[in-house]
Structure formats: C-alpha cells, structure tokens
Symmetry: C2
Subunit: 378 residues, 2 copies
C-alpha cells in the first residue's frame, strides 16, 4: 500500500507528519547556522515529542529550549542534558528546577526583575546549587525583558551572583513583518540588544558567557551574528501557514497536516463539511491579519497537494466548513462524502497541541506509517 | 486550609472547577425543563469527564449527547446507555458505531444526505442491527442539515427504513444574539423547523418518535416546546464569558477558571505577565465580536472575585499579558511576582480541552480539593 492508501484507512481527525519535509526543514536551518559559528538551541515546544527531538537536536541530545517544566522533565529523561526553560521563572517553580538539576540536567532559567533574581539567588544558596539564569532583554516591545540601557540589568546581574549565565532576547514582533529583509532587520535588533546588554554586564565587571537570540523568522534571515553565542528557533521544524504567509517557507515545506473526512455538503452555500473543527485545528487564526487569510487552514488532497483556493473557512468544535477563499477565482470541486483530505495548519504549535500523537509518513516510501507519541500539560 | 490556600500551593497553570457553581447551573436547566415535559439530553463535549457526567446526567446514566466516538466509548464504559453522536456520520465510522452498539449501548447517529442514509442502511442490514439515525434539520443556516421543506428529507427517511428514529436541529446562530427575547426567537425557530420536519415525515407515512432541539441559549429561553421530545445543551454546565456576554448567565455563574502565577511586569506599558498563555486558555477569542471584548479571559483573584477591568489582553504559547480593558476607567493594581490569579475563559469547551484534569473546589468548604480526570482525542 502507498502511504496515501494507508492514511485513507485511518480514523479521522488525525495529525499527520511528513518526515521528509521535517528533515529538510531541520537541515536547512542547521546548514544556515554553520558559517555563523553559533550554537543552535532548538525550541521543542512545537514538537513536544521525544522522537522529533532526536531528529532535531545535534547528536539527538544537544542543547534545547523548552516552554514548560514538563517539557524539561520529559526531555531530560530522554537524555537531553542542556535545557533552557525560556519563560520567566516564578519563585514557586524553583524547587522543581532544582529537583531536575539534581538529576544531572543543566537546566537554566530566564528572568527580568530583581524580585526573581533574589528568589533564584536565595534558592540557589539554600540548595548549594547555583541555578543558571539568563536575563531577558527586550529588543522590540513584544513581551517581557529589560532594556539593555536599563540600570536594572546590572542590578539583576549583581543579585544573581554565581547564577548569572548571560542574556537572552526574542524578536516576537518578527512574526508580523513580511520578507527576508524585514526579518533581517529584526535579527539585527535582536543581535544589537543582546550584545549591548552583554556589554553592559561586562563593563560592570560581571560575566556574560551566553548571548542568546532567536525566533524562526530571524534565524532564517540573520546576516551578522557577531557577539552572539546561540540561536533559538522552534516552529521551523514543521513550519505552517503563518510562516508561509511572511515568506519564511512555502506551503510545500509545511510538514504537518490534519487528516479529515468529508461528512456533508451545503451546495447552495458552497460549503463542504468535514470532521475537523477547531478541536483538531485549534482556534488559531494567525493568518487573519496576513495578506492571504487562510481561515482555519488550507485544504490538500490525501497526497498533500494543495487544492487551490479551498480553505477551512469556519470551524465549530468537531465540524469544519470548507469553502473557496473569497476572490480565489476557483470553482468548488465536487468532493463526495467519505473522501479524505488533509488541512495545513495556521500555527503548528497550536494545532499539534490538539493531538496526543503524530501519524508519521516515513521518508522511505516503502516503510510503514509510524506513530510517535506527543505530550501536553505542564 | 481554605480552598484558596490549597490553590495557592499548586503548580500553575491549572484548570479549576467550582463544583457549587456547576451544580447550580445543572439544577437551573433541569428545573427549567421540567414543566415542558421534554427529556434533557446534556451534551458532554464540554466536560469530557466521567465525574462531571455523573453530576449532569439524570440518575448519572441518563441520555447524553457527544461530539466524538471516543466520548461515546468512554461514557458507555462508565454506564451511560443512551448516547447520541451529534456530528454528521462518516461511512467509515459505522463499524465503530456498530461495535459500541454490540456492547448494549443505544448509540444513535445523525446525517443529512442520501449518501449517508444509504451507508447507514447498508451497514445496519449487514450487521443485522438497525443503527438509529436522526435526520439533521437546518433551522438557521448555521452549518449542516436539510430544510424541513426539502424533498430530500422524506427521501432520506425512506432510505433509512428501520434506522429512522427522528429529526434533530441546533440553532448555532443563537450564540450571536443577545438577550432572552432573541434567544426565545431562535428557540421558536428550532421548534418550528423540527416539528415541521417531523410532520413531513409523518405525512409521508414514516415514523418520527424523536424531535430533538437545542443549544444553551435556546434551552434557557424556549417558551413553547409543543411537539418537541428532547432538549440538548452543553456549555451551560460550566458557562463562560461568551454566554455571559449574550446574557444567558453572569460572570458569577462561570464554574471554570485557569489558575495562573504572575511572572513579571512591564509597568510603563501597563502589563502584568502571567504563566497562562493560549496553551492554557486556548486561542478562542469568542468575545472579540461582543459588546465587551474580554481578550483571552477576565482576571479574578484566587477567591474567584473579578478584578474590575483586568483582562488577558494578549497571549503567547505560555505567556499571558494582563492589562486593563480599554475604556475600563480602572487603575492597574499592583500585583507582585508570584501572586496567584484565576482567569475566566471565553469558551469553556475550548479552554477545558487544553487540560487533562479538573482541580475541583468541592461544595463542602471543609472538604479537600479533588482531582477529576478529563480526556481528549477521538
């Protein structure tokens, strides 16, 4: 049986991962980073899968970024020994951080306030184990972080003492601009902010061995990473319609799709109903503000070929409504009840989170489909 | 320890269920239905929890509605013997329907096309077990269903033969109008469409024992249910900000919240950062089109008291940004790092789906917090 024939026999909805596309995406960024001489620290929050992590990390165990302590614990058990928990640390979470560090995993945290620095220093002192911390730097007003010029930066650095490992920034606003030149400009802002912050710490006589930057758009566009020691990116492993919409990839690079079945028609309204609603695709409408609004996703046939103009225009919990994108100029195809389709997602992180496993189309066309578990929770 | 003190000691983010509010919501609709003499068939897609189902269903095992076959299987194992799978049936799912029916569960399906009717009749014939089917009727152009006047209705009824159990409709558009009078008008449309369809079948000499209607807004506003045999509703068990926004409940009725911890501030921007992002709240922005846009949710203190004007105005995967609702006239409170808050969700179905358990505040103030598992998947 071909892979498409295998998919056609499976219950729906279901999350499908095209391994060849994923490996190509992974190789692309790895190759791009090599001449820059920076460490790639992939963010595993998109995949939440040990099988995927083995293919994404250098040597299968290389440095990684996570968004929850659950991820840190699962990946540490799977052999990852250098993990950055890249969400501002809450004091209540330090006991769990120390417990994981006690297993031999080099888990580090981030923070941007004197209160957090005091909590990290105190917990480290009591445990006799310096929890490494990066100070979060704000490079674009997106979320958290201190400005490189803020005197709080050096104050936090001093309070951290032996816990100070460096600085980190993330240009979250790079997701909202289109094209390589715009992403390169955000990459330059990340680099400038992080290097300036590292300089401020060093001028004050503090160490700053790690200078960490990154997002998927900036990682693929950065031109000069002088002074940076590591790059973080996550969604590049799978890509999605939001990334295609800002020009970081094409729809042909998107490795993730939701397998669905046609369950009805409202022909006078131009609707095809499928059994993938927002419970399968997520409520993410990340392309709503882009030049091409893809609804809740772009329809493909079971082989993964895009059906021109056909999008999941509306979603209820377990119902999706496929319709032509306004202005597409296409004709609604006749697709009978029972037909299997695949929907490319707006946002890989959000759609993958709706499932507890990947159905994997292996690179080898003669190999059987694989099932890779994924996890959620905190 | 008080319940609030117990919550304060738990890891975050976490899904909290106020049992007293839930039981009050359940009793409210049950009481409202009694004089109408119709069967209440609660939709369990919101809760996806056996513990919740026991408190929602009549006698703990009464008739139920589900949105996936996984729900049907889990609730059947837990003793529910009369289940309606209320998403248009795909032919490929009939084997699983028959397998569950063979265990003694009276599982019924819905459909709105001759192709589906033919598949149901054929599968029933081969199995020697008539799969009961309701014909979906379109009362408001919301999604699927045939019009009561459509000749396809009687054609489908004839094709179903012994599988014909009745008709079903759902005024999904009732979620988009505000106030009891508007909901009552949609309830009248549901009732009129379903009763007309039942009449058309009976005029053609076909049986129609079940006439099923419902949605949370229409169930709470219906005035005359003559000719209707059962009412379906789901989100009323927990309620949420969308339901409060259209006047079906108040924020004080909402039984579900997400416990979160303050992890930072951007004071000059008026932001408080918390560790509940869209992974915890979901990407649902159901109040975006309402008169009061609640962002990704409305903040409460750990006791569940609303903090006036403070909403989750933006969400990344694991970061939420609390800010004052524009025009609220309130002053941003000072809330230190480490403080626990609770966020009321836009859409209970979507937010609950992000978690694998409820942390339950029991009705008895002296009882310990409980943990009720919930499930996802298909």
């Amino acid at each position: 049986m071909t892979h498409a024939e295998c998919l056609d026999a499976l219950p729906t909805p279901r999350l499908v991962l095209d391994e060849a596309r994923m490996l190509c995406n992974v190789a692309r960024l790895r190759t791009r980073m090599t001449p820059h001489g920076v460490t790639l620290r992939p963010h595993l929050k998109t995949a939440k899968s040990v099988e995927v992590a083995r293919r994404v990390l250098e040597g299968g165990t290389g440095p990684a970024t996570v968004s929850t302590l659950k991820e840190a614990e699962v990946f540490a058990r799977a052999g990852v020994r250098d993990i950055l928990y890249a969400v501002g640390i809450a004091p209540q979470k330090l006991a769990r951080v120390l417990a994981l560090r006690a297993t031999g995993c080099d888990l580090s945290v981030i923070l941007d306030s004197p209160e957090q620095a005091a909590a990290v220093a105190e917990a480290s002192r009591i445990a006799g184990n310096a929890i490494p911390a990066l100070i979060e730097i704000d490079c674009d007003g997106h979320r958290g972080g201190v400005s490189p010029e803020d005197p709080a930066l050096v104050e936090i650095g001093r309070m951290l003492g032996a816990s100070l490992r460096g600085v980190l920034t993330h240009a979250g606003e790079s997701y909202n601009v289109v094209g390589e030149a715009a992403h390169a400009a955000f990459a330059a802002r990340e680099c400038a902010a992080a290097v300036a912050a590292a300089g401020a710490l060093r001028t004050a006589g503090l160490p700053c061995p790690v200078v960490s930057v990154g997002s998927t758009p900036t990682a693929h566009a950065a031109r000069d990473l002088t002074g940076v020691t590591e790059m973080r990116a996550g969604v590049y492993v799978f890509f999605d319609l939001v990334m295609a919409g800002i020009g970081v990839c094409t729809t042909g690079d998107i490795a993730l799709s939701v397998l669905t079945t046609v369950i009805g028609h409202q022909r006078e309204r131009g609707w095809i109903l499928v059994d993938a609603g927002w419970m399968a695709l997520s409520r993410d409408r990340g392309t709503a503000q882009q030049a091409v609004d893809q609804g809740y996703g772009l329809a493909c046939d079971i082989e993964g070929r895009v059906i021109p103009g056909l999008i999941l225009s509306a979603a209820n919990q377990e119902h999706g409504i496929l319709a032509l994108r306004p202005g597409s100029g296409e004709t609604l195809p006749e697709i009978p009840v029972g037909t299997r389709l695949r929907i490319l997602p707006n946002h890989a992180c959000a759609t993958a989170a709706q499932f507890d496993a990947y159905t994997v189309l292996p690179t080898d066309p003669d190999a059987a489909l694989a099932e890779w578990p994924r996890f959620g929770g905190w």
